[in-house]
């Protein structure tokens, strides 16, 4: 659907170098990376808002590298939503229809569906200035999708919202993706956001793509220390859920709740995995006995790999803890983690 080939962009203070990326039709693809990695620049280049110095961008089989933004069929939703302040919500949403030949009844149908789906009916006559962040975001999404774009670019659409709303809108975004034919390409610096939304992702840093792959692959096999650090969560497992339990291969862990939108994965941050010599009598619902298979020095911390019934957990412990516990390859050890430390997704 989208193929980015050897793209280089020089912007004076900042460059994008040798970007290669391929995104499938109707995929939900995530572009991750810290602030200043060049994510927004790449989005704007795909949209045609920034000129590419060398390389090619192909969208839907058509080379769009030299095409002006209005001819690309790519919509963009910015972090600040960028609603037109002088137009009402209705006028904002229907703005793009002025430039698209679409039969009136089809346009009305699309408008009606988006207004319903995004719950905007009561806002249509308002001006954007007195809308909440979440409402702004929904209007921006409707405005972007009404023109039936091939690709929807989302630049950190959730980061400007209150954490309480984020979960709802994240689900809304996922639903929207399932109901439209557009390919979604979203920028975020929040890894958990990426996990719950996307199948595949790319990690960017310093104007370069560091790794592209499935979420799980990036998780488990970071190709560089940067990606490993960025990802943070080292314990990722395929799991099957039943009731409040999840089974990883043969190992059953207690979630303490039934996962609301589980897609067959659980993740545990390595710092949440506690090691001890004997089984702990504590509030931690999950406690297993295993064998240390790996100890790696990570500067301030040691990363310890423990295998329990064929499943390998990673735990981060301090040097003194390593010493106290007499952890070494092959030694027996107990590991525990709270039910709330498990992230099902």
């Amino acid at each position: 659907m989208i193929a980015i080939e050897n793209v280089n962009i020089r912007l004076g203070e900042f460059d994008l170098r040798e970007i290669n990326l391929s995104i499938e039709k109707n995929e939900f693809f995530i572009l991750m990376g810290p602030t200043g990695a060049g994510k927004t620049v790449l989005l704007e280049a795909i949209a045609g808002l920034i000129r590419v110095d060398t390389g090619r961008i192909v969208v839907g089989g058509r080379d769009v590298t030299a095409l002006s933004p209005e001819k690309r069929g790519i919509s963009i939703v910015y972090q600040d939503y960028s609603l037109f302040p002088h137009l009402t919500v209705r006028e904002n949403i229907t703005y793009g229809l002025h430039f698209h030949r679409m039969p009136k009844n089809e346009a009305d149908k699309r408008f009606g569906r988006l207004v319903d789906e995004l719950d905007l009916a009561h806002l249509l006559h308002r001006l954007p200035t007195n809308l909440s962040g979440g409402e702004n975001q929904r209007v921006a999404l409707a405005r972007a999708l009404i023109v039936n774009p091939q690709v929807l670019l989302l630049d950190e659409p959730l980061s400007a919202l209150d954490p309480g709303f984020r979960e709802d809108l994240r689900k809304g975004l996922k639903r929207l993706h399932e109901h439209t034919e557009a390919t979604f390409l979203m920028v975020t610096h929040d890894f958990s956001e990426a996990l719950s939304l996307a199948d595949r992702a790319a990690v960017m840093d310093g104007g370069q793509i560091k790794q592209v792959g499935g979420m799980k692959e990036i998780f488990q096999k970071p190709e560089s220390t940067f990606v490993a650090d960025f990802v943070g969560m080292k314990n990722l497992f395929t799991a099957s859920f039943h009731d409040t339990k999840a089974a990883i291969d043969g190992l059953e862990v207690e979630l303490g709740r039934s996962p609301d939108n589980g897609h067959g994965y659980i993740a545990i941050r390595p710092e949440d995995v506690v090691l001890s010599r004997k089984k702990l009598h504590s509030s931690m619902r999950n406690s297993f006995r295993g064998k240390v298979t790996d100890v790696a020095d990570q500067g301030l911390y040691y990363e310890v790999g423990i295998t329990v019934e064929g499943v390998t957990f990673k735990s981060l412990i301090t040097k003194s803890a390593l010493f106290d516990l007499e952890v070494g390859e092959g030694s027996d050890i107990c590991l525990s983690f709270k039910a709330t430390a498990i992230h099902p997704f």
């Binding site: 704007e44 949209a47 045609g48 808002l49 002006s68 933004p69 209005e70 690309r72 790519i74 919509s75 963009i76 910015y78 600040d80 960028s82 037109f84 302040p85 002088h86 703005y95 793009g96 002025h98 430039f99 698209h100 405005r143 972007a144 023109v147």
Partner: protein, 261 residues
């Protein structure tokens, strides 16, 4: 209540001095002529003609600034390129050049000795002592005020709004017409007010390029030279009142429309 420091009172006193400095002479001038003299003055054909000439040449200057200055202001607000600061300084030049120098500079290209003057001559355009000349001078001195006001207006519109518009299928022109212009037109009106206000007040450059036909400030000066203060005051009162009234109307129109959108 916390006691105000002496500095506060010094600041207030300075402010009062400035207010008095501006207002006392103006109020004195406005109050000096009697009502009957004012009535007599406004029936004087020369006075009416000169005030009208002042207003419409200034208006024309603002119109020219609008047509040519708007695209330039847009480019300056939206792009950065080498030499941009130089261009911005060139635009500000008419503000800092002494007014008679402006007049002399314009005359020096308008004469037959200069190729531009020759072209004008062949086209039948006369600068010296003509309405055209007055408009040229007023545009010269008024342009920077328009360009700067509108540039600031464009700069305050996030480029992302234009980006979104483009990505939704609008061409550059449609984007300007539907997004940028509606958001910037108030700054354009302010620019037009600033530019024409500056143009109406011009004397030094006009008097060199075109003593006749007489714009209001030149008439004022002539009355003062020939008959003294008493005969120039009523003309001044009318000029100031009419200008203030015009600007007030423009301003009210702007505000009313701003509330609507």
């Amino acid at each position: 209540m916390i006691k105000k420091e002496p500095f506060f009172w010094i600041a207030v006193s300075c402010g009062l001095v400035i207010m008095a400095f501006i207002l006392i002479p103006l109020i004195q001038m406005l109050a000096a002529p009697s009502f009957s003299i004012l009535q007599e003055t406004i029936q004087d054909k020369d006075v009416v003609r000169s005030i009208w000439l002042s207003i419409y040449t200034a208006g024309l200057a603002a119109l020219i600034a609008f047509v040519f200055g708007t695209p330039l202001a847009y480019i300056l607000a939206r792009t950065s390129f080498r030499g941009k600061q130089l261009i911005e300084s060139i635009i500000d030049l008419p503000i800092v050049i002494p007014h008679p120098v402006v007049g002399i500079a314009i005359l020096s290209v308008a004469g037959k000795g200069h190729w531009l003057g020759q072209i004008f001559n062949e086209l039948g355009v006369r600068i010296m002592g003509s309405v055209t000349g007055i408009v040229v001078v007023l545009t010269f001195v008024g342009l920077p005020f328009y360009v700067n006001a509108v540039k600031n207006g464009f700069e305050s519109i996030p480029p992302r709004l234009e980006n979104v518009s483009r990505s939704l299928g609008a061409s550059m022109f449609s984007t300007f017409a539907r997004i940028t212009f509606p958001l910037a037109w108030r700054s354009m009106l302010i620019g037009i007010i600033m530019c024409s206000a500056r143009a109406i007040s011009e004397f030094g450059a006009v008097v060199i390029v075109a003593y006749h036909p007489m714009i209001a400030p030149v008439l004022l000066y002539e009355r003062f030279e020939a008959y003294g203060l008493k005969y120039s005051q009523p003309v001044a009162v009318w000029l100031v009142s009419i200008c203030l009234a015009l600007f007030l109307i423009l301003r009210i129109l702007t505000l009313r429309n701003a509330e609507k959108t």
